[in-house]
Symmetry: D2
Subunit: 481 residues, 4 copies
């Protein structure tokens, strides 16, 4: 099997052989007792858990090859169907049923059996994460890719059924929540990494809320995590979020007995979603984040009727990379990025045209420009302009190119405000030159906004963003002259 | 639509029309936002909940007709597939995918959407109960029956996925459990009806255990209920179960504070399952009872290592009806039910042959024989014999005719002992002439027993049962002389 | 011991002797280990629990006699103190300490030791109930009464410390609460007895709230129970409370899954306390009811800001008995109860003066007057008038004679409205001729009202009550003519 | 008030004056409503919480002076009592009651009122901690000390009543417990400080148990904390406790879903108490640690019947300090610490007599001897011997001088084994030259051991300890030669 990307020796190892034979036993037995099936499923799961990545990849390939669609049988059943008389409804139904069974590969049945045992759902979620890796590595070779993708879709469809709203629990995480949960929240936080336990304590302290979805079949595992700040305006930078909130020391708020000063939530009119994280790679493509935001909005409206403004403070993960590609284009002369005047000012810092683009890219790359106040000032207008262009005008299949933008626009949010010097952490500089954006949720408009975005590709936005984006286009166009 | 069994006017009522149009909107919209789908699904569910039985039946017919398989499209897709070259794997997969989609009716998608909302799973369970009624009533006429059955299967397959072990919670019900739960347990109990709250209190009191499965999507609804008695032998009658347990008054055990005498579980070596009830008609065909027994056995082994014997004390719901049919056969002279000697003794009570069978059937019917001690004595041997024959030898498709026997034999239990005068309640007399049976679970043999039963149709049994059954056959055979 | 009211033989029974010797061991041992003390305390408690009422009484007498104050030692310590120099502060403190120890009887120490063990607090509460009985029976004879009362006070003072707010938990009881709790609530309800489980279900259903205090040392025992109805006015009869609330059927509200209609609490502006019960006789004199009302008011204000009116609908337990005593006075000619005109009208029903009072009392006694509409009409004004007099003017030590009135006036409530035909149950007729009264809580005035009532004996009341009471006085006075 | 140790200006600050006047209001009002009392108590508590340490001290002095015993009144009441006739029992009781009231200072009543409000018990615990400081600082001068001590005793007696077993909850702390709780456990741990969260995680992980007492009036505050290790022998050093337990990685044990490997508690036969901490200074003198150990033993016996051995691994906090004092004595020639032979060996390291003791003490002081293997070997015998003498023979008021020894001996434990090189942490070296001791709990003997220890001052011990102690005495005695 020279096409396989994994180490073929893995398939020769004894426990790999055992796993293959367990699968075979499991599938072959007709009239198997539930005891037998459960036993074999447990054996399989335990073996798989003990496998190396290579072995897992190899086993997924085996699963796809040996328990996938049997085209010949499908063909033959299709022929049988076509030969039946159209008015014999019972016979047609029977033949269609048979065809449908054949079109549902044996691995579907295996997945369903795994899902039945305790811990089985979590196993399938983890196995799908492995499968996504395996597909990206092209385990099994390029010829098997379409079948592997089919298997991935089949598994996703099953997981969709199990991760519907009725099985998800909204939990509010506080400093009284289990350590196990808080440790995971700390570890999973990707948007604004949690540095230490004091930081974590603040995230669940006064004027902060941390919501998670947990799933009944995966207790104490946060599936999606949403961090919210209660403020009295829409913040334009992470600084406003991170700093300890007014009037309250962390400790006093935490003290649970006696004469405790509470946060005064009546003073807050805004709920800011400043970090949302999906933790399970195996649930890729199953949009739980959207549901979580909806539920949280509902929850906050119930708990705090004063809160009228719902907005995010969001990263722009793809901006800098896209900007650099634009600069390369500009270097080639294909378009313009700066106005004449800007270019003149920038030349002072980056040198004449032959070195200009190169040193500019270099400085963007290492983020050192943020130390130079005059440079920061010069760059504000062109970078904000380019960012608006990126967010508002750059598309993929008609939808916003930026993944975070696409997520919130799908949900029906408005692209509200682009903020300069909003996140000066290495991550913020590295991804988006320190720029962040607020997506604002006007609850009564979300359905319509979402619908327009999905059907007509129209992005709801504020004047600021639209204006900046238009300017950017003008500069770009002028550049063709 | 003259074939329909429901009142056709129901389909003309305004809210029925609304429900039809909601379904149409729901299905027709491509690229619908999740807001829109959720809204429509909620509208549909609320309408359906408000419907009369007739309207529900009519709507299920509509669902089946309008959103079922489209045979033409299936045919055409099957043709397309057959025309494709066999080595073009990507094209084949695409065409097979298309065919599979067409073979999965639109109502499948609707069911899945309903399952996503809060309370949706319970809605589908209830709707399936309606569907089973609708099928038995032949709503939609006999022609639609096969399609209705297909829809039923589709819904069952979906529910199977949602009612797997990982989503079921084992709860132990005590007098400290929510009133809501205990009220339901009292209402659902079918095997040995609970007469009042004192009776209920005893069911969850000392030397008794009540286990239920609840489901995450249907909180505070007991899905399956299992009543267990802790004893020091295998009881041969309900009397031994019902009477207040030794040494302990109900009240003293219940008192939760101060110096409470506890039951002394170390004195019990047997766990007797004396009632098991599945409460949801809509989960017909999804074997949760088996899982519950397994879990409970495990739980008891953990909590009370002294308990070594696991057995049921079970009703024989079909015995009397079968016995009467046998007597009719005997009346016709096709077989014998009693030995010569027995017949002589019975004639004293029931008169000569011309009246004998008729009065015998009559007395069985009203259960009055139990008042007559001499009759009870005479009947013990022949009725026990016939009962053994019924349980051990009467089959349907090779499996035990009696539904309770079939359930426990599938689980791998041994048909252990038939008990005379075991349940003298009207129900017990009416169903099985007061006879009950113990099915015993030898844990280490269950898998093998179950497997033999399913594959070879072999029933594991004790000598008592086998002996009685053999005698019965001898009498029957002798009767042909 | 001829003074004792209990059967003296009880003291000769072996286990009584054992209990006496356990107490002796317990008290005598200096430097006893905690193991020893705990063991002896447990022995004592178990013995006492097993005693008959007579034995309990006898033991309480023994406790009081043998472990009470030792006057001689007290005297001698008092003398020692008086002989010490006044400026020797250390010596004084030591002698005072010694005196104080001697003034704290040995039984105090025993009570404290009992309170230390698990279940000990509940034991003491129950023992105090026994002690109150014992005192009322004059166990131990009249000479011991003062000492028995001292012991009672000592026990009460200890219980006061243990039943302070910090140890009481407010629980809201619903149909989801433990059966054990709901059963007790049903049994304890004295004001408006709960007839069956449907009745109970309504008490915790829509537009109703049931609050209890539980104590950490007596889990699942409701100490005080308060029933509240949410209404849109102040009801003038139990009928308005008892009837199933508007728009909602009990079942629909109870259904916990799916599409449940909720009560709409925004439509209620009033919270009516229609039953409050203290369940523990042993906590007599420890005012937990007041705390419960305060907490509940706070809770309702938090949960339902729309609720602005807080009022009771209260029984008048002593009215009829007092009324009959007044009628006897009137019969003697000491005062008047009816106006001339009323008397004339009543004579039609009760006959001339020689029979009048006797038949009137007889009819009041059996409550049959309520069946006679004309009589009901004639009696309304005089009975309401008399009731106002009873509630507003009749005093004991300056405070309201009626115990319920005294309770709410102490709490600072206003005597708001007297209601005719408010409780026509046998109990209502028997206690108060069917009349009930609303005490209204104006939260901002409670402190002042309470203070005026306690210091100046002033009852805050409405014009209706004051007017009726004045009229009653006028009639009474006129009668002296 | 020149005697006061606190800054007198604190008493002139406005909020101090307010607090004084609040107290005066509170006490002076007869017939005060409960509203008024509660309001004043809350005001007082809030003011006190806001005070500086100086102000708190000053207020406690005020409390003692202004609301303490009024000797004159006591005297006069004592005289009244003595003048009463001895046979007028009612009058005597009344006068004794009056005397007792006067002997219970007004601050007792204030404390009781504070205890009634929410958070009041915790307030009193904290205030007692302040009071203990205040007493040790001699706030109020030496003359007031006896009165301050009386106030401390009064407060302690009240707290004893509130911290009895019935109000304490045993909680088992795991990684699933609230972060708030685990953070506190980490902070409070004094015996073997917890270095980081991984360390903490291990403390509550496999083969470890962490038990705490919480109190109902101080939720989420661990009052006493006991760390237990499950082992298969009695460990002789902290190393055996600290190292990650056999076969199990921390993470695998923690993973809560799926196929989790559990610890196998059947393999453990010993429960080792390796750290016990009382967290509330204000509960000094209230022995909750003893109760916790008893409860935990009971709990472990229930959960793990295999565990038969209960032992501590305990520090010896006072050993090194005592040892140094002994060495000083030896230096003076009053006694001997080493045998001739030992002395000879040690001289090599510490030089001749004139420098010997000084350098020995210096090395003990900085713990550097532990680096020198030969020295460690030479010192083992004499230090172990001295330690046995310290533990077994050194007494205060007849009881063991070492506080930890005294605690466990009171509980009835046996002084089981002294362990060399048992705790080489800076703390272990600093307190006890790295030596630790096992106190073993033979459950059936505890009562008797405890009793013998308390009554006859007899210490139950093993041969090892007794032998070592005897040797030490011999050396010491020989030294007098």
């Amino acid at each position: 099997d020279k096409r396989a990307s994994y180490n073929l020796d893995t398939m020769l190892e004894p426990n790999f052989k055992v796993a293959e034979s367990v699968l075979k036993d499991l599938v072959s037995s007709e009239l198997a007792t539930s005891y037998f099936i459960e036993k074999k499923v447990r054996e399989f799961c335990q073996l798989y858990r003990s496998f190396s990545d290579d072995q897992k990849g190899a086993l997924l390939v085996t699963l796809c090859r040996n328990f996938g669609l049997e085209h010949k049988k499908v063909m033959s059943a299709a022929e049988n169907l076509l030969q039946e008389k159209e008015d014999n409804i019972m016979a047609l139904l029977r033949l269609e049923e048979r065809l449908k069974d054949l079109l549902s590969p044996k691995y579907n049945w295996i997945f369903a059996q795994i899902g039945k045992i305790d811990g089985g759902v979590k196993f399938l979620v983890d196995m799908r994460a492995d499968l996504l890796c395996s597909i990206s590595r092209e385990d099994g070779g390029i010829d098997l890719l379409p079948s592997m993708r089919s298997m991935n879709n089949a598994l996703r469809d099953l997981l969709v059924l199990w991760f519907s709203v009725g099985f998800l629990n909204l939990e509010i995480i506080t400093w009284k929540s289990p350590c196990e949960m808080l440790e995971k929240i700390s570890e999973y936080e990707a948007v604004h990494p949690i540095r230490n336990w004091t930081d974590l304590k603040r995230r669940v302290g006064a004027y902060r809320r941390c919501f998670v979805f947990t799933h009944n079949a995966m207790p104490s595992e946060p599936i999606v995590i949403l961090h919210v700040a209660l403020t009295d305006n829409i913040p334009s930078s992470m600084r406003e979020i991170v700093q300890t909130p007014k009037m309250m020391s962390v400790d006093s708020v935490m003290s649970s007995t006696g004469f405790k000063p509470e946060e005064d939530v009546r003073s807050s009119n805004s709920a800011i979603f400043y970090s949302i994280t999906s933790t399970q790679k195996g649930l890729q493509g199953i949009e739980l984040g959207t549901y979580l935001i909806k539920r949280v909005v509902h929850e906050i409206q119930q708990e705090m009727p004063n809160v009228k403004v719902f907005s995010t403070l969001s990263p722009i993960p793809g901006f800098k990379m896209w900007l650099i590609s634009q600069i390369k284009e500009a270097e080639k002369g294909c378009c313009r990025v700066f106005t004449e005047e800007e270019q003149v000012n920038l030349v002072e810092h980056f040198g004449p045209p032959d070195r200009f683009y190169c040193s500019f890219r270099y400085m963007l790359g290492n983020g050192s420009w943020i130390q130079d106040d005059s440079l920061v000032q010069i760059l504000e207008i062109p970078l904000m302009r380019m960012c608006a262009q990126y967010l508002f005008l750059e598309k993929r299949r008609g939808l916003a190119l930026d993944s975070v933008a696409n997520f919130h626009l799908r949900n029906g949010a408005v692209m509200w405000r682009i903020n300069w010097k909003a996140d000066l952490s290495p991550r913020g500089l590295g991804n988006s030159c320190g720029i962040m954006v607020n997506y604002r949720y006007f609850l009564e408009d979300c359905d319509e906004n979402s619908s327009k975005y999905l059907r007509k590709r129209t992005i709801a936005t504020s004047e600021q963003v639209e204006h900046l984006a238009n300017e950017s286009v003008q500069v770009k166009t002028s550049s063709k002259l």
